[in-house]
């Protein structure tokens, strides 16, 4: 097995960043020197002829060539627009070059970027995982402000004699700096602040003064063994390649920044994609339903701890439970979106009710829906009145007919069964031998909807819904 630390770079700004911080951080004792002592390691750079001359003359690159074999390959240039998207397209083309190179040499790609800063020991940790047979290792780097980070990182430059290009900064101090100088790009992906992002590629929760928890939809791959079948990325390595190239069991996520940490440095006023609303379950549910695959939802279920303080274990666990409930709420919302679609054709009022609850953040927080729930729908005229209520009154009305679990069985016949509602009241339900119930003198028939919700609704109309459900949803 051999590892290839490979990246592409062009343009004065990124070349400078690579030479100033990326290569020096790779030279730290726990990175290239430690990993190279355990398994064959090489460095591959894809760049332009003009940039190559600058790179080869730099002491950091020269120091690297003395440690491991280093190659520079010419960048396959494309007629790209020179805006940000043009750069991304060019980068994706270069990544295909790197993938082909790794495939030809049977090398495992250590994914790197010119604006990455590696915590000391992180590369060695990757080497350890590779030796244990890891196929594709995922993590989520932190984006930081270049204007602050690069000068501060100078404090960690120098070998034992205080000279030379090496930049050895441990994961904990690097994380502390990253939190202090976090880029707005990452700040708007935290749960809590008033501003958030249009696209929540990951979501983070503060845990302590220097620690946070992160769950990721679009994880960055940092170690990519040659896939069993040759696969090309269609969009980019982190957006679609991982899902297409590796089976779920081949993925592993690094779960603690104490083992591995890479941060990126970017211009402070680059990447403007905020929205003046905080992250909420309804927004995330709508966004993930549109953009996130089932595989990416599964990656989201693994929390990553970014830890640079002594936050006690119980606080981590509490935040893992809290963020886990948000994940569960997202999955539940996806199912309820399906339920709403099913209801829309035959029961527009119930569909509208569900639609309003799905867009109501307070409903998600205050109507904590249990895994299984039963809703006893009122007659249609009452439903129509409900839809005119304000958000708070509507939630109260719904909670008054919402019961945890699937609580009514035929053995309860003839009733009444007194069921505690989520509003704190009691609902008298009279079961029928056929599975239906009577509530408030109205006969209701049960129907199981996606999302663990059992809907009791007037029987005649429900038959049509059932037909829709069996035709569209169960196919």
């Amino acid at each position: 097995m051999r590892l290839s630390i490979a990246k592409c770079v062009w343009g004065a700004r990124y070349v400078r960043t690579m030479l100033d911080v990326n290569l020096p951080s790779l030279l730290a004792p726990g990175n290239v020197p430690a990993a190279a002592a355990r398994l064959p390691l090489e460095h591959l750079l894809v760049t332009t002829p003009a940039d190559r001359a600058v790179i080869e003359a730099h002491p950091a690159y020269q120091a690297l060539t003395r440690l491991i074999p280093c190659r520079i390959e010419p960048l396959q240039e494309m007629a790209a627009t020179p805006d940000y998207m043009g750069q991304i397209n060019q980068m994706n083309l270069a990544h295909r070059q790197i993938l082909a190179d790794c495939r030809a040499r049977g090398a495992t790609w250590v994914f790197d970027q010119p604006d990455h800063v590696w915590g000391d020991g992180s590369l060695d940790h990757l080497a350890t995982l590779a030796l244990r047979g890891a196929r594709c290792v995922l993590f989520a780097g932190i984006r930081t402000n270049r204007e602050q980070m690069v000068p501060i990182l100078e404090n960690w430059r120098g070998d034992a004699t205080g000279t030379g290009p090496v930049m050895a900064i441990g994961n904990e101090p690097l994380l502390r700096l990253a939190i202090e100088h976090m880029h707005v790009h990452d700040q708007i992906r935290f749960w809590g602040p008033r501003f958030s992002t249009i696209g929540a590629h990951n979501v983070s929760w503060r845990v302590g003064s220097h620690s946070f928890l992160r769950r990721v939809f679009f994880a960055q791959p940092f170690l990519l063994a040659p896939p069993k079948e040759a696969v090309e990325p269609q969009r980019s390595v982190d957006l679609d390649y991982v899902e297409r190239a590796y089976a779920p069991e081949e993925l592993s996520t690094i779960a603690n920044s104490r083992d591995f940490l890479v941060v990126e440095v970017s211009g402070r006023y680059q990447f403007r994609e905020h929205t003046p609303y905080p992250l909420t379950v309804p927004y995330l549910a709508a966004w993930t339903r549109r953009w996130i695959t089932d595989r990416q939802m599964d990656v989201f279920s693994t929390p990553i701890r970014f830890q640079a303080d002594d936050t006690p274990e119980h606080r981590w666990q509490r935040m893992e439970r809290f963020s886990g409930r948000i994940e569960a709420a997202l999955r539940r919302s996806h199912a309820l979106y399906e339920a709403q679609t099913v209801l829309a054709a035959e029961r527009p009022l119930l569909a509208a009710l569900l639609g309003r609850l799905l867009r109501d953040d307070h409903a998600h927080r205050r109507l904590a829906l249990p895994e299984q729930a039963s809703f006893f729908a009122p007659p249609e005229p009452v439903l129509a009145e409900w839809l005119e209520l304000s958000g708070a009154d509507l939630r109260t009305a719904v909670a008054g007919r919402l019961v945890a679990g699937r609580v009514v069985t035929r053995r309860d016949w003839p009733g009444p069964v007194r069921l505690p509602t989520l509003a704190g009241g009691v609902l008298d339900v009279y079961p029928h031998a056929g599975g239906g119930v009577t509530v408030g003198g109205v006969h209701l028939t049960p129907l199981d909807l996606p999302g663990g919700l059992r809907l009791y609704s007037p029987a005649a109309i429900l038959a049509d819904v059932e037909q829709t459900l069996s035709g569209e949803c169960l196919e």
């Binding site: 062009w10 343009g11 004065a12 700004r13 332009t48 240039e77 494309m78 007629a79 790209a80 627009t81 020179p82 805006d83 940000y84 043009g86 060019q90 939190i179 976090m182 707005v184 700040q187 708007i188 935290f190 809590g192 602040p193 008033r194 501003f195 249009i198 503060r206 211009g267 402070r268 006023y269 680059q270 990447f271 403007r272 905020h274 929205t275 003046p276 609303y277 905080p278 909420t280 309804p282 927004y283 709508a286 966004w287 549109r290 953009w291 309003r356 799905l358 867009r359 109501d360 953040d361 304000s390 958000g391 509507l394």
Partner: protein, 264 residues
């Protein structure tokens, strides 16, 4: 890097450079200015240091590539220092200052939330965007018009003063009832100030030039402003006012007055 062959031969003089840039803007290819910038590196702003149009093009190049708003701002400020009566430079300064201050606001809000472990209660004071507002009003004094009034409103909106923003957008529509940014922004401002009746009436009377969030259409049908406090659809994020981009779209007509300004 290789670029469009049209830029392979670099025009030497200022007039030729300006003509090329004007053509790109007219063709809705302003992003390619970034290519020229990158190819010429730091020589780009320094090439014709005393020409305000050139400095503003430099600001545009830095802005449209999204690489460095701070440098774009300094170029816009250089342009208005060279020529205090050059109103697009003031408008560019307002736009860039506003975006930078918004990002600083997010940063400050995040830092406070992080420090206290809960959502910040502090709101930006009215002065947070005052420099941007001053710059926009300077442009307004020099060249009053629908687009500039729209941008004044956009600065107010960024500061959370949607009441003042609504007034500015209304004034913009007084200058030009078809100004597309002001038309949409006015609807957004009415929604933000909870004026459902006026919004419904406005949407009934006007066909907006852009697709607005679904929630606006719903407000037009029913009075449910309170229930629509959160964005439920991914496309509904655009519930804030936008700038007209007039500061750079007007440049071709200033470089070559014979040509018309392209539609925004």
């Amino acid at each position: 890097m290789s670029f469009d062959p049209a830029f392979a031969a670099e025009p030497a003089g200022l007039d030729a450079q300006l003509t090329l840039a004007a053509r790109l803007i007219r063709d809705n290819q302003a992003a390619k200015l970034g290519g020229i910038l990158r190819r010429q590196s730091v020589r780009f702003p320094a090439r014709f240091p005393n020409d305000p149009r050139w400095r503003l093009l430099s600001a545009l190049a830095w802005y449209v590539t999204g690489m460095d708003r701070a440098f774009a701002l300094s170029e816009a400020q250089a342009a208005r220092t060279i020529a205090p009566g050059f109103w697009p430079a003031h408008l560019a300064e307002a736009h860039l200052l506003c975006e930078i201050r918004e990002m600083e606001l997010i940063h400050g809000d995040f830092s406070e939330t992080w420090r206290h472990g809960r959502r910040s209660r502090r709101r930006p004071d009215e002065d947070w965007f005052h420099e941007a507002l001053d710059a926009a009003q300077m442009a307004l004094a020099l060249a009053p018009g629908a687009e500039v009034w729209n941008d004044v409103g956009a600065v107010h909106a960024a500061g959370g003063r949607f009441d003042l923003a609504a007034e500015a957008f209304e004034t913009a529509l007084g200058f030009d009832p078809g100004q597309r940014h002001a038309m949409a922004n006015y609807a957004v401002a009415l929604l933000a100030t909870g004026q459902a009746e006026r919004l419904r009436d406005y949407l009934d009377r006007n066909r907006l030039p852009v697709r607005l969030p679904e929630c606006l259409a719903e407000v037009a049908a029913e009075d449910r402003v309170g229930a629509l406090a959160q964005p439920p659809e991914p496309g509904e994020w655009r519930r804030t006012a936008v700038f007209s981009q007039h500061w750079w779209r007007v440049l071709p007509s200033m470089i070559d007055p014979a040509e018309e300004v392209p539609c925004a």
